[in-house]
């Protein structure tokens, strides 16, 4: 199983500069654990602890085949071979 994950500039320090890496997992959560095994430190940038449970960070967007994962189950979003995952930090701020 192979899932292509597009990595934003700010997280390429974890992937040795690679713009895209391959991972696998039957869910987004499993994929992130697989990424963490090969690129230690990346998980913490994607996921935070909320009431004792992992949750996606508020200002990180993850898309599976162009769908925002927040609408397809968040960390439980199912994945299959050949899916394309894109990680994009929010462009946001406030005064």
């Amino acid at each position: 199983m192979s899932i292509e994950v597009r990595i934003p500039t700010i997280l390429r320090t974890y992937t040795g500069g690679e713009k895209a890496v391959n991972g696998d997992g039957a869910s987004l959560s499993a994929l992130i654990d697989d990424l963490e095994a090969n690129h230690p430190g990346i998980k913490e940038r994607l996921v935070e602890d909320k009431n004792g449970k992992d949750d996606l960070r508020r200002f990180v967007n993850i898309y599976v085949n162009d769908e925002d994962v927040r609408f397809i189950g968040g960390l439980e979003a199912p994945l299959s071979d050949g899916d394309q995952v894109v990680v994009l930090p929010a462009v946001a701020g406030g005064c």
Partner: protein, 142 residues
Amino acid sequence: MLSIDRTTYDAIVAHAKRDHPDEACGIVAGPEGSDRPERHVEMVNAAGSPTFYEFDPTELLELYKQMWDNDEEPVVIYHSHTATEAYPSRTDIGLASEPGAHYVLVSTREHGNNDGPVEFRSYRIVDGEVSEEDVAVLDALP
């Protein structure tokens, strides 16, 4: 230093004035590695707020896919402050995630939607460190 052409500069200022009192936001894309802000894209502020801005997540993906297809990157990322100075807030700094971009802040606090000068300032924000830079407004990019 940020070098930007007059037409793009004016378009950013016009966008900020039009959306006042809400914060306006957008980017100017350019060829990867060129440091040339060539293609202005106004974004919707999904927060629709006078104190916060956020690109809509679906539009954000569309924008990045276009840029990848064109071998572009965000050269300028801009937003407006509508009641405070054109300096990055703590939130702006914490959420800045494009270390290669010029972060432009426009303040509309003085004239709001009306004609009149605005503050237009540019910064690099890398690892939580802010450094202001000069802005050169040119008739055309060299």
